[in-house]
């Protein structure tokens, strides 16, 4: 039973150090919003430089005099922008918003509980994550600048210290500390999600009746529990190599900046194995909440049940399990035993099956539907389209023989941006438009929302589909510029992508404006604006402090009762005592 807490008094207890999962969820979302704006601005600078390498960025010289003297982005500055962009987006946006943000707000309500199982741990998990973000951002302000080794921080570049170049001094250490803290925050959060889902379900809420988003959050938290527990020791060992003179990841005989490095016996491949053992499940942590969110919203907007819900849950579980068996596909060419490549490619290809099934279940749900085209619905439909695109390009990279050509090229960048930067983001957008009324008691503006969707949907395809073309032509990733003759011919396409990226970025202003305006001036929201079934719609918008006003609900149905003759319309709410109509 959670430490039940009465409604808090005072600004600090209510809004800052709150134990209430709803406040904590909003705090996570606020953090993610700051992070995504930061990450997006970094990407604009990167794209600017890629399109026009000799053009100065007006005003940047004042902000970063060393990194971009007179506004000219230096190669090391580009790489640090890239490293911070990846780190901020993967950790502080894609892990934070769909999982910690929406999950925290909704999971206790979905199971019918008053709060998470461990509210104090929950509060700690947010503030540790916040601290992690602060530590990461501080890397921008240290003398040597932020790290330049990518979000993957491969050793020895990341492990030898400042000899390796700009950004590899204090900046890299701060990165490792930040990520270590982030792991701790996520582990505390995972404990809460797991205990709450298993132990705090209200009367009648069997596991089979859990909403699909809740299943996704639960499975994601189990994946995270295992994955972050491996990244944390990896970061500790990396920090020790950097500051304590150990050699976990650095072999002997390295000459960097004309200095023979004082390390011996370490293995750069060890870092890669530890990192990717975390790293691959991490990308499923980023996408599975989106799977759940789409499966949660789609029936409500299609006015018919999700097709094959038990199969869908089985897909989530299978993907979660298989996600631990595939990490080597990031390392086909790493120098590990080439037999392992074939070994890893088999589960990598097999994991496409549950992902395909899930996609087909969504498309099958749309068959014969009566769609309500609100913005949440549009982003779900868009999710399906971009997930198909991103998932299929993974098919190429899963085969070692094809990866020989495509590894390290823009094909990979296009692939992971489609599945993470676009599909997972669309999941976040869908969740925002769907649950904003519940969270803030006001409706968002639908006209702005639809324009946001259309411009973003077209925009992301213009940004990321061409990257596959570049990759096929052999264009290499992580290059700050395409100088000399190599791939100079790709410059026009890079410029097209840059224009599309800036345009798509500008379209996000519609979203930001909509958020702020609706928060204060949106029309008041009813308890159930979408005629949806799950428990959050059985309580007020926003919910009272203990979620259900002192009366924990009793659950009579699963979440999938759409397209049926119910008392309130073509659906039956989970908490409604009316009987299910005869089949």
């Amino acid at each position: 039973m959670p430490d039940t807490h009465g409604a808090p008094q005072g600004f600090l207890r209510q809004y800052v150090f709150s134990l209430d999962h709803k406040v904590i969820g909003k705090q996570y979302l606020g953090l993610a919003l700051v992070a995504v704006c930061t990450g997006m601005v970094l990407s604009w600078l990167m794209r600017w430089h890629l399109g026009w390498p000799s053009a100065a960025v007006p005003g940047l010289g004042a902000v970063s005099p060393t990194g971009a003297p007179s506004g000219m982005i230096t190669p090391e500055y580009y790489l640090s922008l890239m490293t911070m962009h990846g780190t901020i987006m993967v950790f502080f946006v894609l892990t934070t918003a769909p999982f910690a943000g929406f999950g925290n707000f909704l999971l206790p309500i979905h199971v019918g509980a008053e709060d998470m199982a461990f509210p104090r741990f929950n509060m700690m998990s947010f503030w540790v994550t916040f601290l992690a973000f602060a530590v990461l951002v501080s890397a921008f302000f240290v003398h040597d600048g932020p790290p330049i080794s990518g979000w993957t921080a491969y050793a020895p570049l990341s492990a030898v210290g400042k000899d390796a170049g700009p950004g590899q001094g204090m900046g890299q250490t701060l990165w490792a500390v930040s990520i270590g803290l982030f792991c701790v925050g996520q582990l505390l959060g995972a404990l809460n999600f797991i205990a709450t889902t298993l132990d705090l379900r209200t009367k009648g809420m069997s596991l089979a009746r859990l909403p699909y988003a809740t299943w996704a959050w639960f499975i994601t938290s189990v994946i995270g529990l295992i994955a972050f527990s491996v990244l944390l020791p990896a970061c500790i060992l990396l920090i020790l190599d950097r500051v304590a003179g150990t050699s976990f990841f650095v072999p002997a005989g390295l000459v960097i900046s004309d200095r023979l490095q004082p390390h011996a016996g370490g293995s750069p491949l060890l870092w890669q194995h530890l990192f990717w053992f975390f790293g691959h499940p991490e990308v499923y942590i980023a996408i599975l909440p989106g799977f759940g969110i789409v499966s949660h919203i789609l029936p409500a907007v299609a006015r018919k049940p999700l097709l094959g819900p038990k199969v869908f849950i089985a897909c989530l579980v299978t993907i979660g399990f298989l996600s631990y068996t595939v990490w080597g596909h990031h390392m086909f060419l790493s120098g590990m035993n080439p037999f392992s490549a074939t070994l890893f490619s088999v589960p990598t290809l097999i994991i496409t099956i549950p992902a395909t099934v899930a996609t087909l279940l969504w498309i099958g749900t749309l068959y014969g539907s009566k769609l309500r085209f609100n913005t949440a619905a549009l982003f779900c439909l868009g999710f399906i389209s971009v997930f198909v695109s991103g998932g299929l390009s993974g098919f190429f990279l899963a085969q070692p023989s094809v990866d020989v050509y495509l590894h390290g090229t823009y094909f990979v960048v296009g692939h992971f941006h489609f599945v993470m930067g676009v599909a997972a983001m669309f999941g976040i957008f869908a969740a925002t438009y769907f649950w904003f009324p519940k969270m803030f008691g006001r409706m968002m503006n639908e006209t702005l929302g639809k324009w946001h969707f259309i411009l973003t949907f077209i925009g992301v395809y213009c940004v990321f589909m061409p990257m596959h073309f570049l990759g096929l032509a052999g264009d290499v990733r992580r290059y700050s510029a395409f100088t000399d003759d190599y791939m100079k011919g790709s410059l026009p396409l890079h410029r097209f992508i840059t224009v599309a990226a800036l345009f798509t970025g500008a379209a996000q202003l519609l979203f930001l404006y909509n958020l702020v305006r609706s928060r204060f001036r949106g029309p008041l929201a009813p308890a159930n604006p979408w005629d949806a079934t799950s428990l959050e719609w059985s309580t007020a918008s926003p919910p009272p402090h203990d979620n259900f006003g002192g009366q924990p609900p009793t659950v009579f149905h699963g979440p999938n009762e759409y397209g049926v003759a119910g008392r309130s319309g073509d659906y039956i709410m989970q908490a409604s005592p009316e009987p299910e109509p005869a089949a």
């Binding site: 039973m1 959670p2 039940t4 199982a117 461990f118 741990f121 582990l187 995972a190 404990l191 809460n192 797991i194 205990a195 709450t196 298993l198 132990d199 705090l200 379900r201 009367k203 529990l225 295992i226 972050f228 527990s229 491996v230 944390l232 020791p233 990896a234 500790i236 060992l237 020790l240 304590a244 003179g245 150990t246 050699s247 976990f248 072999p251 002997a252 011996a264 016996g265 370490g266 293995s267 491949l269 060890l270 194995h273 530890l274 053992f277 924990p552």
Partner: protein, 184 residues
């Protein structure tokens, strides 16, 4: 009603501890596999002579688990002395940590530090990480003792969860002792 639910469904604290144990197991699995890969990948592995104090510390930790079990039984049967045996567990736990610190000083006196070699690096990392988690367990035990002394009914759910965690720290230490002896 929430109290009805508490009788039929597992206590969240217990679920949380089990999940936490899974996480900690994965962390030590990661360290173990790192150690195996590091030892096998280079020829600079010098075996470490473990300070004999470690074995005495092991006895102390096992005794603390025993004390905790006595405390648990007493509290479950509402017999007297539960709080005293909890205090004994705490004292033995603190003694364990002190013993580990002394063992590190022993090694340092022999000139074996974190960066001396890969075997010593793993020794310090593994024992320090374990000790850090034991400290967390001590904090939980202290909190539990505080709750027991304050309450008329013993918080059996929390007691069970803390006991599970503490016994796991014990078992984890035995595992580490084995691999440190055999492997390092």
């Amino acid at each position: 009603m929430p109290s009805e639910r508490a009788r039929t469904s597992p206590v969240p604290a217990q679920t949380g501890v089990v999940a936490g144990i899974a996480a900690i197991t994965m962390t030590f699995a990661a360290f173990t596999s790192a150690m195996v890969m590091r030892k096998g990948g280079a020829s600079d592995w010098a075996p470490l002579h473990l300070p004999p104090l470690l074995f005495a510390n092991t006895a102390v930790l096992v005794a603390s688990s025993g004390a905790l079990e006595v405390a648990r039984r007493r509290l479950r049967r509402d017999a007297p002395g539960g709080s005293m045996w909890l205090s004994a567990t705490l004292v033995l736990g603190v003694l364990f940590i002190a013993g580990q610190l002394a063992a590190w000083r022993d090694l340092a006196a022999q000139g074996v530090f974190l960066a001396t070699g890969p075997s010593s690096a793993f020794f310090y990392v593994l024992t320090a990480t374990h000790a850090a988690h034991v400290l967390g367990g001590l904090a939980a035990l202290a909190y539990l003792r505080y709750r027991v002394r304050r309450a008329t009914i013993a918080p059996l759910g929390t007691l069970g969860a803390v006991a599970t965690y503490w016994h796991f720290m014990d078992g984890l230490w035995l595992y580490l002792l084995v691999i440190l002896t055999v492997f390092v």
